[in-house]
Amino acid sequence: MCKKQLIALLSGIFLCVSVKAQATIAVEKCMICHGKPELKRVDAAGKVHYLFVNLKVLKASVHAKKVCTDCHADVTVIPHTQKPKRVNCQRCHYKGNPQGAPQIDKYMEYEKSVHAQEVRKGNPKAPVCQDCHGNHDVRKTKDPLSHVFKNNVPETCGRCHMEEYAQYRHSIHGTALLDKGIMDAPSCTDCHGEHLILRHTNPQSPTYATRIVKTCAHCHEAVNIVGKYGINVEQVETYERSFHGIAVKFGEKTVANCASCHGVHNILPPEDPHSTVYIKNIPKTCGKPNCHPGANINFARGKIHVNPEKKSAGIIYWIALFFKILTASVLLGLIIHIAMDLYRRTQEYQQKKKEFKEMEE
């Protein structure tokens, strides 16, 4: 018994060590070729693929202790005969995995995203995990060197979404985050979501016409976020009280939401001549073919985000106040008038009842 157990244990250890040894060798074996900076392959289309792997980068990543074949599992013989397939992160990143690879439900939201939809459709350009998170250089999200660290997200997304990146980079949000280092300023994912990115035409998307207000309001209504930088937090409320805001609240898609006037990736403060809400650009912004064609500079004469309950609204405040007083006085006057009439009628009724009783007697 005891002998058998010992043999089993020893053979187990031996197996482990030999597998381990084999794998460790694998890294070095891989490096024989992939450790050469000049290693490259030219495909049929004439495109050059650089195949150098910097081991230092891998060692600095979260996968420092992993070996090549942990991810490139389809490579079984070296040199490999075929081009290895794309790495599938879910080999390790599934719930309850023994390696302790982080996995939360949020990652799975990717499956519903527009990116995953495109991957399923067979779009070769659609991103999977490693396209955003990096391949050999995967780092923790909070690591400033991570591809998905807040400051690096615009560039990561911009590798594919170049035009959007260019617009965002010069917008108030882009300059605030990337030039001034204001971490409260939004990166791509703050508006579009992270794993669950959807098309803006999808009603579930935070950038959908009727949901964008809530998305912008997340910061623009918050005193502790934009309030810190002296940005007016009243704009959301005044918008919601306007006809545009009420219509959006009840599901109208054809009225103006925040982005209709302020732009999307190219948002700039109204003082900037390139801004869509710069006073001279207002006629063009309001006068879009589906909105108010023929709009002129009159559209800019007066406050756009106006709160009739505040003195800063000027004459609008005073007229609103006048009507409030007028309505209250009309209401009060009529109630008094009616109450007086009712009083007299009850008096008359009592009088008649009394007379009737006297007559009966």
Binding site: F250, P293, D341
Partner: protein
């Protein structure tokens, strides 16, 4: 068509068919306009949300509102034709002319209702109350129609007037609507249907009124119909 003042079976025709049609169209359109207007104005309250739901959402609410706005305008055109080009309409309008008598009537009524002394003044067909209501509606509806059309054709109106005037237009339209509602649905409805002879006076539909009641409430009008004499 029977003339105003026709007496049959102890009843007298007070409102001609012209007047009844105008009144019912006005009533229906103003109720519809008020209900669809409130849905927008009080959209953040339970009542407003409920109204919006039964009105089929924002787009349909707007369509109903503008449909009845057109009905109201047609009714106004009818009314203008009636008061200007018909003898009957002209006579009724002249009865609604504000006069010094209205002031004395008002004070007499106040004295009577507060102290019970004296007596009710001898009213004609339209007392100071009806005159205030009529002219109140004339002024109010005019404001509503003007501001309403400015808001309806917002792009055209904003190209000729600055945005801040447009904002004021919206505020006036909303506030004036409330005032009109108060005058009509609180005061006018009280006077006719609660403060009158019975709950829900049907005279606005039939046009007829009991002579006995008229003799007591509108002695001058009664005298005009009966030629000053008693019992016809």
């Amino acid at each position: 068509m029977k003339k105003i003042g026709t007496i049959e079976n102890g009843r007298v025709l007070r409102f001609s068919l012209h007047m009844r049609i105008q009144h019912i169209v006005l009533m229906v359109s103003l109720i519809a306009l008020a209900v669809t207007g409130f849905a927008l104005k009080y959209n953040d309250s339970v009542l407003g949300r409920f109204l919006l739901t039964i009105e089929g959402g924002m787009t349909f609410r707007g369509m109903i509102h503008r449909f009845f706005a057109v009905i109201l305008v047609l009714d106004i055109i009818y009314h203008l034709w009636y008061t200007v080009f018909t003898d009957e309409g002209h006579r009724e309008l002249m009865l609604l002319k504000p006069s010094r008598k209205d002031v004395t009537e008002f004070f007499a009524v106040m004295r009577y209702t507060l102290t019970g002394r004296g007596s009710k003044p001898e009213f004609d067909k339209y007392t100071y109350r009806e005159k205030i209501q009529y002219w109140g509606v004339v002024v109010g509806v005019s404001i509503m129609v003007i501001t309403g059309f400015l808001l309806w054709f917002e792009t055209a109106s904003m190209t000729v007037m600055p945005k801040w005037i447009f904002d004021i237009t919206g505020i006036v339209h909303g506030a004036e609507g409330i005032i009109l509602f108060i005058i009509l649905f609180l005061w006018h409805a009280y006077n006719v249907h609660i403060g009158g002879k019975q709950f829900f006076n049907t005279s606005f539909i039939s046009g007829w009124e009991d002579l006995d009641y008229l003799k007591k409430e509108r002695p001058l009008e009664y005298k005009r119909y009966t030629g000053g004499g008693e019992g016809v």
